[in-house]
């Protein structure tokens, strides 16, 4: 048995694919790659793969992480060439590393997510809106009928491109763990901007320990 950590990007073609569909797309990609996937036991066996953090429909990402399990040990370079040959539009492979079988699940190590937000229309008072946001001591957001406070989950926010002539850009770090997670589209809504006026890209995941 071998556990391999896959670092990948979800790009434009797969922007409108949700988490479960991403999972199924990986399943098929790995099957096309012809790798000896380890299957779960049970009524309907599934290949064992774990994606570190769900990415909402409408988002793209870079440096996304997933662990896969193989029945036999194979050279990383071989696995890489198999996957590269099978990738669909919308998935890019960055790197592969072998990780110890007994390492905890990626999801349990996750602490925060870094996002880039690109506005499709210029927001003239973007700076004020960002400042207003950080001044609040609490930002109540309704999600599926329940309220949560986004403010303590907002770890940082900065404007990358101010100029309203260009596509304006923000970068933000939001807390993400198994109990709590904030969404950047909710953050944009909280700034009084409809989320469909922005594109969301997850740049990076943060973990509570250095990952290989």
């Amino acid at each position: 048995m071998m556990r391999v950590r896959v670092n990948f990007d979800k790009t434009e073609e797969m922007r409108f694919t949700g988490h479960l569909d991403l999972y199924r797309t990986w399943e098929r990609t790995l099957r096309r790659a012809g790798l000896p996937l380890a299957y779960s036991q049970g009524f309907k066996p599934h290949p064992r793969l774990q994606i570190a953090a769900a990415l909402p429909l409408g988002f793209t990402s870079s440096n996304d992480l997933m662990d896969i399990w193989l029945e036999e040990k194979l050279p990383i370079s071989f696995i890489q060439s198999c996957i590269l040959a099978a990738l669909p539009p919308g998935l890019q492979l960055n790197s592969l590393t072998e990780v110890p079988l007994n390492q905890p699940a990626l999801q349990s190590l996750l602490t925060a997510s870094e996002y880039q937000i690109t506005f499709l229309e210029s927001i003239l008072d973007l700076e004020q809106r960002v400042q207003a946001l950080t001044k609040h001591s609490s930002i109540l957001i309704e999600r599926r009928g329940k309220n949560y406070d986004l403010r303590p989950l907002l770890l940082s926010i900065e404007i990358l491109i101010h100029n309203a002539e260009e596509q304006q850009r923000l970068k933000t770090l939001l807390r993400t763990d198994s109990a709590l997670h904030a969404r950047p589209d909710e953050l944009v809504n909280a700034m009084g901007i409809p989320a469909e006026k922005a594109l969301f890209h997850r740049l990076k995941l943060h973990f509570n320990q250095e990952l290989t």
């Binding site: 409108f16 569909d21 539009p89």
Partner: protein, 633 residues
């Protein structure tokens, strides 16, 4: 100039970025899937848009679309792209933003294509065709479209009676499309070079076997409203349009587009056989797809291998109208076992006959027991089954269900039809009794886990079948029959589902209609009818109002026993099976006489002489057994 020339693909793409996050399942509208084919627009001569007029989730599972997509894109001078009916939320967004419907591959508006080909496997898609033309900013009526507009083509099983849609479609493809699409592209190319009129294009198309140009004919009716005849308005147009068939099934496609989102079938579809020899009298497909043509076991195995590699799917559907009748079925299953048993690949083999051998096949395929085992007796009494020519003895049926339970299945799905000709309440009661008998058999073998799902649909007398003269059962009768079943099939191990009778009637009048229905379809669509195949979207009030506004009665089309002497609006469409044969078969049915599998002996349906030259030319490729003389008593 194209009417939508202001809508460049770039503009559409840009608008989508802010529209798509606001609709359900936006990946329906974004394209870009694995194995999608994108060709260079400028350097490719003929642009063909294949349209399935229902949502992406359904259309992407349609094998016909996949076949034509593959074939057209193999040509260097043509490209094929896809479009589907947008769901209501997306339609609203398109209309609000004044965006035209576009193709998934390159986001060109539909009006920028040379040819738009609609796939019409069933009739309840008709209003969606009108809606799509409208969303494409095209004129709905064929006669209002001109040179600069795309040529609008339609094909598929529903178009064996093209008349209800004749006013909207420029050219119908009758029969199998694999070769005709090539000829259409050739004709289109040479017509464009000649820079002549649209009428001249239609005249050239009419010369292709299997192409029907409805505007070349005018329909006449008797004073009592019944159909009289079609009058030819164009000298060169054929009087009879014979369906096209291919002598050999062309190589099966395997590089299927893999959707990012879930669709109705998540599997590799492989057609193992086309046509059927059983002759069930209610079955439209069984009559129109004759003769039988099979793929070899080695081609099927090779296609599975290539398709798994190309798609990564873990399920294969081996498709045909009657899998058990595939000549090499036992070999095929054996080969599949030896090639794929360790691949986590599940193989489905639908449409199996009711016999214990089917259970052995499923057992050998290692089919999961979860989905249950499906049997389609269609009727519950031997009398009824003889009448519809699906002769199975009740004893065989019970033996088969016993074998199913003994082999580890605990769920059996039974498919029945009600409203068959000459059906009595006793025949319907028998559905309940038989289902309960199967249930008690199951209880003895698998205990309380047993589940019997009874699915009941309502019979429609389809054109080109031996029952085309028959009337639909009345609404009162059908409701009484459904209530009877509902009363009798209760309990925790029984589940009864049935089709809405109204949906059935809608399908019935659209399938049996004449050219006067065009106005009805148009008005119904204007009043909001669309997605008629969807139970929660069907707008019967719009349809009834449309009929009333046109001074027509739906019952005229559906609830009238047609005399043998009456002409049908679809008589000019020749499916190769002779009308006289259908008539004899109808008369035999009334005497409860069957015509078993024609592989056992030919009944001279007409398909053999009709396509004899094609058969000789291409080497004897399909099986019609040697002609034996049967008594026609």
């Amino acid at each position: 100039m194209k009417s939508d020339s202001v809508f460049t693909p770039q503009l559409i793409q840009k608008s989508l970025l802010s529209i798509l996050p606001t609709v359900q399942k936006p990946a329906r509208y974004s394209g870009g899937e694995l194995n999608q084919i994108v060709k260079d627009w400028q350097s490719t001569a003929v642009h063909w848009c294949l349209v399935f007029p229902d949502i992406y989730d359904i259309g992407m599972s349609n094998l016909g679309m996949a076949i034509l997509y593959d074939l057209i894109n193999q040509r260097s001078d043509a490209l094929a792209e896809r479009a589907f009916a947008p769901w209501v939320d997306m339609e609203t967004k398109l209309r609000q933003n004044h965006l035209p419907l576009y193709s998934l591959e390159t986001k060109h508006p539909l009006s920028a294509f040379d040819i738009i080909g609609f796939s019409l496997p069933y009739e309840s898609l008709y209003t969606n065709v009108l809606n799509i033309l409208d969303l494409a900013n095209l004129e709905i009526w064929s006669e209002k479209r001109a040179e600069q507009h795309p040529l609008i083509i339609a094909g598929g099983h529903a178009t064996y009676n093209p008349e209800p849609m004749a006013a909207f479609i420029d050219a119908f493809v009758i029969g199998e499309g694999e070769e005709v699409v090539q000829e259409i592209i050739d004709v289109f190319q040479s017509w464009r070079k000649s820079a002549s009129s649209r009428a001249s294009l239609l005249r050239q198309l009419a010369n292709i076997d299997g192409i029907y140009i409805p505007s070349f004919y005018k329909a006449h009716y008797h004073l009592d409203g019944t159909f009289s005849h079609l009058e030819k308005r164009e000298e060169s147009a054929p009087t009879i349009i014979s369906k096209r068939i291919v002598a050999h099934l062309p190589p099966a496609p395997y590089r299927f587009i893999v959707p990012y989102i879930e669709t109705v079938h998540e599997r590799i579809p492989i057609e193992i056989m086309r046509g059927c020899t059983r002759g069930c009298r209610f079955c439209h497909a069984g009559m129109v797809t004759r003769p039988i043509r099979e793929r070899s076991v080695s081609e099927i195995i090779e296609t599975i291998q290539k398709a798994v590699q190309a798609t990564g799917y873990n399920e294969v559907g081996l498709l045909s109208l009657s899998s058990s009748d595939y000549t090499h079925i036992a070999d095929l299953v054996k080969e599949i076992q030896c090639h794929f048993s360790s691949n986590h690949l599940s193989i489905s083999l639908p449409s199996l006959r009711i016999e214990t051998f089917s259970v052995e096949l499923m057992q050998a395929l290692g089919t999961t027991r979860r989905g249950g085992f499906t049997l389609a007796p269609e009727a519950a009494t031997e009398r009824m089954r003889n009448l519809i020519n699906k002769p199975i003895s009740t004893q065989d049926l019970l033996q088969t269900t016993q074998a199913i339970f003994e082999n580890g299945w605990s769920t059996i799905k039974l498919y029945f039809m009600i409203g068959h000709p000459l059906e009595t309440l006793a025949d319907v009661q028998a559905i309940a009794d038989l289902s309960k008998e199967v249930l008690s058999l199951g209880k003895k073998i698998v205990g309380h886990r047993v589940q019997i799902h009874v699915s009941v649909s309502t019979f429609i007398p389809k054109p080109h079948t031996p029952f085309q003269w028959v009337a639909c059962d009345s609404m009162e009768n059908i409701q009484e029959k459904i209530e009877l079943l509902h009363r009798n099939l209760r309990g925790k191990n029984l589940k009864l589902t049935w089709n809405s009778p109204e949906a059935t009637f809608l399908e019935a009048w659209l399938s049996r209609g004449d050219r006067r229905l065009a106005e009805v379809i148009y008005l119904a669509w204007k009043m909001g009818a669309k997605f008629d195949a969807w139970n929660d979207h069907r707008n019967m009030d719009a349809w009834y109002q449309a009929f009333a506004d046109c001074g027509l009665q739906p019952e005229f089309y559906t609830h009238r026993l047609r005399p043998i002497t009456e002409a049908f609006p679809w008589d000019h469409i020749d499916i190769g099976v002779r009308k006289k044969y259908l008539m004899q078969d109808y008369q035999r049915s009334l005497q409860e006489q069957t015509r078993p599998d024609c592989r056992q002996g030919c009944y001279a349906c007409g398909i053999l002489p009709k396509y004899n030259s094609l058969r000789r030319e291409r080497g004897l490729t399909w099986k019609c057994p040697p002609l034996k003389i049967h008594s026609t008593a």
